[in-house]
Symmetry: C2
Subunit: 436 residues, 2 copies
């Protein structure tokens, strides 16, 4: 593909416009670096009248995505519409016509990636998706190429800016989740319906894609354990801080002896770790490889031009390497992969250390009851503090940190403790990630 | 190059052994990811008897580097000997025989890169050097490919682990430079002759290479302003801390209106910045692009396997993309580049904000004299504190932070102040980098 790349751009929201603007502004640089002229021939958007004044005169703007697929001049389709349909149909049709695809659509790839990657491999085209994970950060390339020599042990990432903004603000101000969410919505950091972000689903899509790349597993959202941040209380953030930790919503995937773990949940991270110091809406991903050891990649996880930067990096890659034999390109696993009959770990087998906050009656013997249950479940206590519960008479809170132990054992201990008459409310359970 | 890669490995120190070990251990993964079998056919090392028991039986070990160049089977030479000769001759001869080269040799490339890159381009082979900058961190690939859409504004990096270990330890313990250097030497973090590291030369080599990639300038070590850390005093680290900064040895390159700056010096970094929190012997590089905005890359900057990880990433890249037309591969600038007649900024034109520590006589009117000189040189003061100098009678120290101003003006002001009879010793000048 030494001649030229003619892009069909599907979607002209924030990311579509950012991609277009950067392509125009840095045209000379990009030609120099890619050895190829990359230009947008068509834009498809719902509201064409809004788009026309924002693009050059020779760009054809229309509202039917089939216009892109049916244009034989277009050799790469950039899909930045988001959502499942019509993005899925567009991508599959583009592939079937031999067009390469660049997409920022994490939800689509995490749900339908196996079908899409298999179709692309059959057709001998690329489906590139640097922009789908952590915006501007070249983590897909980093994993596939920069760290290609490594047997990756685990990946942990702050990959949802909305959640990290909320958690950073809760910590800085001591305010409640609901209060800070409302502010985030006002500032445009959170959407009117914030479910995808705050319930961890967006993080789950992204960590699923990173797991697929790192461990060669097909995508399977059923296997991801997902907890969001909506139930997190300001006081746990404060207690964690006192213990030397910050609470972050992490996407985590590990290649363990009992299978591949993929999980999303708030986690206590030691405050000396660089990841704990990622503040506001920023994203960061830590990768542990056997040779490179720990490395971290940090940057803007969203925004028109930062995400556009990743989209264009994929376009340049396609320009540079489309002549490479398909068999030598980095591959995505598909459901047909032979190694992957059942690569998944059971969530109950997860080994972690834990933070528990147990609201209890303030009377002699309670601590003995609790520590007995903990011991019965083979859990070893690292530290234990009693906190006063100023609002409630005759009640205290026990904050317990455990050594590493099995998730299933902890769940069982909690169920048993929860039945004690001296336990006066739901036990809060958080996981600790040392990241070493 | 779909068939196979036969490596000639020149050097079997820490990095050579790390590369070899990782290639062996992760052979299956690497074949899967590269689509190519990568194996070491020959090792060249001074002490062959030491190497033979460390490699497989079918690896040919000898002590003459020409054995690698003259073996027609070998299609990639990995140079991890270090030093200028014979590395330079080996690389040039390998290129002339049509072999690709992978090297970790920053000193060689920063000094002789123009000659080497020009020869490689002429011969149609790659000279890959991910391992030469920041060890395991895929920053060369990140800049060239991941951020290829960006007009890069500046790069700032902690890219010498020895210096960062010394500075982190000085800050943690309040101990002197000499004292901590001795400890670093004992721990193996610093060499017996630490000049290259502590005087900033190693950092300068690496930032020069990053400048060449980002801005398309030929390498030219004459244009780098270099200050190391050997004169840094514990008290400046303490004062900086009180003001909210940490002192790091940074390699900095900026593309400004007055030319490309490349400089190495200790710098005050605001302690909320992620870069300020990079501790111990770790490395990190921040890149500011017009589209991606700020991104940061962090990891191990040295060590056998971490550096080997980068060497092998380059090998895999060569395996995957050697079929790509040379004109489409990322290029290194050479002295022949047309755009680069004189791309360099004068150091005096550097715009920065500054930290000064001025030892002065404790008497009325001294501050008036100093601030008058500052004002005469069009420098605007951001803050000013007087510190007692407990060891010295009738003497205090003025700590001054300036707003952004021109280096030449600051230098002039310092020369003038230094002549005052009330200034009782050399003025300490440090630069502040906000990194935004």
């Amino acid at each position: 593909m030494a001649t030229s790349i003619k892009v069909g751009l599907a979607g002209f929201g924030n990311v579509g416009k950012g991609t277009y603007d950067v392509l125009q502004r840095n045209k000379d640089l990009i030609v120099k670096r890619s050895g190829t002229d990359i230009s947008v021939k068509r834009v498809v958007a719902r509201n064409t009248a809004r788009v026309v004044p924002l693009v050059a005169e020779d760009v054809i703007v229309s509202s039917d995505w089939k216009d892109i697929v049916n244009d034989p001049d277009i050799n790469v389709v950039v899909e930045v519409m988001g959502g499942i349909e019509p993005a899925r149909s567009l991508i599959l049709e583009a592939i079937s016509k031999g067009k390469h695809v660049v997409t920022a659509n994490k939800a689509l790839l995490a749900e339908y990636g196996n079908e899409i990657f298999a179709a692309a491999e059959k057709a001998g085209v690329n489906v590139a998706f640097e922009a789908a994970v952590a915006g501007s950060i070249p983590i897909v390339k980093g994993l596939r190429e920069g760290l290609a020599a490594n047997d990756v042990k685990w990946i942990a990432g702050i990959i949802n800016g909305t959640c990290n903004f909320i958690l950073s603000t809760m910590r800085d101000t001591g305010r409640s989740f609901a209060d800070v969410l409302a502010e985030a919505q006002q500032l445009g950091y959170a959407e009117a319906d914030p479910t995808f972000d705050i319930e961890g689903i967006d993080t789950a899509h992204k960590i699923m894609l990173l797991a697929a790349i790192a461990f060669g597993v097909p995508v399977n959202m059923q296997k991801v354990h997902i907890e969001g941040i909506s139930k997190l209380e300001a006081k746990d953030i404060k207690y964690a801080e006192e213990l030397g930790f910050r609470i972050k919503l992490l996407g985590i995937t590990k290649n363990t002896n009992y299978g591949v773990e993929v999980r999303v949940h708030p986690a206590l991270v030691p405050n000396r770790r660089l990841l704990a110091n990622v503040e506001g809406a920023m994203n960061a991903v830590v990768v542990k490889g056997d040779a490179a050891e720990s490395s971290l990649y940090y940057g803007k996880g969203a925004g028109g031009e930062p995400t556009g930067s990743a989209v264009i990096a994929d376009l340049i890659d396609i320009a540079r390497t489309a002549s490479v034999d398909v068999s030598e390109r980095p591959k995505m696993p598909t459901v047909d992969s032979k190694h992957n009959a059942n690569p998944w770990a059971d969530f109950g087998d997860t080994v972690c250390s834990y933070y528990m906050r147990i609201p209890v009656e303030d009377k002699p013997g309670v601590l003995a009851e609790i520590t007995r249950i903990i011991a019965d479940n083979k859990i070893s206590i690292e530290s234990l503090i009693q906190k006063e519960a100023p609002q409630k008479v005759h009640q205290t809170e026990v904050i317990m940190m455990t050594h590493t132990t099995k998730e299933a054992d902890v769940q069982k201990a909690i169920r048993t403790m929860q039945e004690l008459s001296s336990v006066r409310g739901p036990i809060v359970l958080l996981r600790k990630e040392e990241l070493h």
